[in-house]
Symmetry: C2
Subunit: 383 residues, 2 copies
Amino acid sequence: MTGIGIIGYGMTKFGEHWDRSLRSLAVEASLEAIKNAGITKSDIQTMYVGNMSGGSFAGQEHLASIVAGSLGLNCPSVRCEAACASGAVTLRSASVAIKSGYDIALVVGVEKMSDLSGGDVASTLMGAADSEWEGFTGLTFAGLYAMIARAHMNKFGTTQEQLAQIAVINHKNAVGNAYAQYPFPIKIEDVLNSAMVADPLTLYDCSPISDGAAAIVLASERIAKKMDPTWLLACEQANDHVALHERSLTEMKSVKLASKVAFSKAGLTQKDIDLAEVHDCFSINEIIGLEDLGFCEKGRGGKFVESGEIEIGGALPVNATGGLKAIGHPVGATGIRQIIDLSRLLKGKAHNKVDGRYGISLNVGGTGATAVTSIVGIENGKV
Amino acid sequence: MTGIGIIGYGMTKFGEHWDRSLRSLAVEASLEAIKNAGITKSDIQTMYVGNMSGGSFAGQEHLASIVAGSLGLNCPSVRCEAACASGAVTLRSASVAIKSGYDIALVVGVEKMSDLSGGDVASTLMGAADSEWEGFTGLTFAGLYAMIARAHMNKFGTTQEQLAQIAVINHKNAVGNAYAQYPFPIKIEDVLNSAMVADPLTLYDCSPISDGAAAIVLASERIAKKMDPTWLLACEQANDHVALHERSLTEMKSVKLASKVAFSKAGLTQKDIDLAEVHDCFSINEIIGLEDLGFCEKGRGGKFVESGEIEIGGALPVNATGGLKAIGHPVGATGIRQIIDLSRLLKGKAHNKVDGRYGISLNVGGTGATAVTSIVGIENGKV
């Protein structure tokens, strides 16, 4: 197959931006991406804006027009939402638009989770779960993922130390990342001794509440081949029930379905992949993600983490720039940030160096109801 | 050009559904559309869900997975949002997917505005305006449209009686519509004497708060030509600034841009159009919409309404099934309901009879920041 060109990208620092609005974050990332692509605003033919809960967090829906208007653009602009997978679902929607005939699309994901207009973050985030079956009972996302972690531990012998190791590796990888919210190293004892949020998940097993934006300019092959892009060889989505009681606790069917299509479209297998961005909203999710992407057997994720293979220098560096855990997780931006970091790593432009031709990303919405698997290559197709 | 087939549709009654959830409304409309199309659920390759504020109204984001899961589907499902134009933006997104290669797409728009989980309707709806420049000041949507109405009256001599006439015609057209929230006739005195909401707009100048869902099955030409569809000859979107102070009060640039592309893609002009669905969230918007769609000169909308040409039997029946005013306005569903009603009218399946080959719809988000103009034909292309 032939891919879609990633011809430019830009992002804000992820963190707490008490003096910034949703709009200003989205515009900063968009303008940087446009500049990085070497195009002008008028080259943009269509726009996609990813955001989970601007309405609840900031009193602002209609964000596709807010961003288009602020950029002075009148082209079609569409907001897409899929909880914590909003970023990748938005990128995929733009890739569908390119396949339908557009030449250049701007994609920007943004979330502003501090300085709320009303409500509280934990309740708003429960809009990503099933409000009637899960939110109604008073569950939080940490609670949902704690049940998943406990089930994985009981079924496969996964240990709290293996979960903690995820946080240690991701924090280590973030050191030196100018965009990261928490670019400092931690020790395994720090994780194990940090406050218990929802047993067995401690504070350091959880990704933070963040503000930030990330933007990408996508281009058709016709345009991109004249530039120096990375290539989006696949960007595939699958969906499943939202409520956890209707699914497996220890396996994400959506990830398996999306990945199968992604590998098939890219003409690649797991063996071809050199690096990965795997959604680590909670440490357990990175372990299950690695299993369901097919990088290790079901139940062996904990051992795979322990083996050191996911560290920089290992067979499959994972979250080599810090992951959601240490870079931060402004939910609408994360899925786009993952693709930017794969592009930077493949081009040798990230703060850490990783050799490779192909990177894969997994962005998950809710506890697995939405999954998007993308494959990025340094060349357009298999080489 | 060739179009995309509208091979099935379904909708719930619009109104106050105190005993129904967001999910159950969306599923009812979806299942009816699937049945009406004569397909099975497994034929659906991709899904799009339109919804403005499930997060604020019902504590439920991630609605694309909620609906996909409830239908037992694992295909890609994307929620799109564009305030009161969410429905048509979602339909357009599905049409882009069909152009990219999908054969069958389910599109469902839904909103549940009564029985809220928190907040109030007027504040949540202000998420469709600019929260920093407009919501912050305490403005409501009726207030914004009142300023637009007053400006149109001052500039062009539009009268309160002409505004009221919109409500009278739309209520008359809703009589006998089994899906309508308010299927009863009203007199011009009823409008003029009803409670003043925001001068010059009275209660009957305003569309109601509604619950409801509307769904359409779209198919590629290859599939649709074996069926008995209507044809989506164009579905075009344009965007503009959200805040009213950055735009004209009396003209919607987004409508002019979207309509120009729609007429061009369909190979038609205003003279070819036999009936119209024009977004009447407030009566003034139907007048400005008719002007900016090019059916009368700028400023002559009031006179055009007075002429009787927009009534059934006139040159251009508008909102022949009742409009947002009398059918109701569950914001995520409206843009899809408009296309269903054009299809029903063109096929002679609506409660009112209107002759014609081509219908046009205008769905507006906010006070004109998003516009989608669609053209539906009984045959695939100009005849």
